[in-house]
Amino acid sequence: MTRAARKYFFLASAILLAAVFWLGYSALPPAGHVPGHYGDRVNAVVVPLRHITDAVTAVNFDIRGFDTLGEEFILFTSIMAVALLMRRRKERGGGDHEDKAGNRRVPPPSDAVRITAVLLVPATVLFGIYMVTHGQITPGGGFQGGVILATAPVLLYLAGSFGQFRKVAPMRMVAIGEAIGAAAYIVIGGGCIAMGGNFLQNLLPMGKVVGSLTAGGIVPLIDLGVGLEVSGGFVLALLVYLEELVEEKEE
């Protein structure tokens, strides 16, 4: 299909799609007034029943915990697929890709960048741990905190070299950490069955103080597992991408 034909085709289907949008929206009440009875119920019961003050985390890791298990494994399998795809090249041999400025020298990072990045590393790690552990109290949780933790080795890469990145996050250790994080979710779910409940049924004590670090039964445990899985997964993906880049430079 030529470029112009494609554009007309898009235009025709866009008008059709816009009509579908219009049909779908016309039955919706205006934004801000959509009744969500399920959400209202969650808001009403989450503090007395679970001692969790962040309703979003309660939905994710307790009320809708089984769905989040699936979500976590979408992440796990796609990271695995990324690692597989990026590693295949070694056996296939390099393709016809050619670096047009292969012999240019990459300037080392300036002192300002190095100092800023090094100062940011401990702050990032602390913030990431805070984010993971306080998921049931304030906005945050395993997913958000895990991503923040994964940026710490990237800062090291920015300040120094890929070698330093690899030193603080060796591939094997990261992969094992990711696997443990993913397995923890299932183990916690299975533990609930062993305690005589259903899979992921929150049977642990909810904690005496509402909105404390230990409140919420299995929720803080799942938060920790997810945090480990997400940070491991993202570091692994970055490692695989960077390894590819560095190898190309060395050839």
Binding site: K7, D40, A44, D96, T138, A237
Partner: protein, 114 residues
Amino acid sequence: MNYLPYAVAAWLFLVGLYGVTTSRNLVHLCICLSVIQSSSYVLLLAIGYRTGRPAPIFKDIKPGTPAVDPVVQALMLTDIVVEVTVIALLLALAVQVHKRNGTLDPSRLNEIKG
């Protein structure tokens, strides 16, 4: 004004789709796909929002206060996680395409085989 978020969601979807259909670069195509996906964030948040109500965090407001819908916000979190991983996967595929064919232009992929 109250229907504006819905219109923004539809606009983001269509504008992203335009980018996908006319893209000349697979990396650009991945970014257009993430624009399409961001329309779902806007739509979900618009559906969950209740005028005048606070966020569903009961740390500093009285528990039981009517708040915005936490269920769609949790769904949006899922949405973001899935998007990031899908983009990572697609970019890995784009790297492989470039390795095999030496181009990232989707329309030139038909000409060059192997």
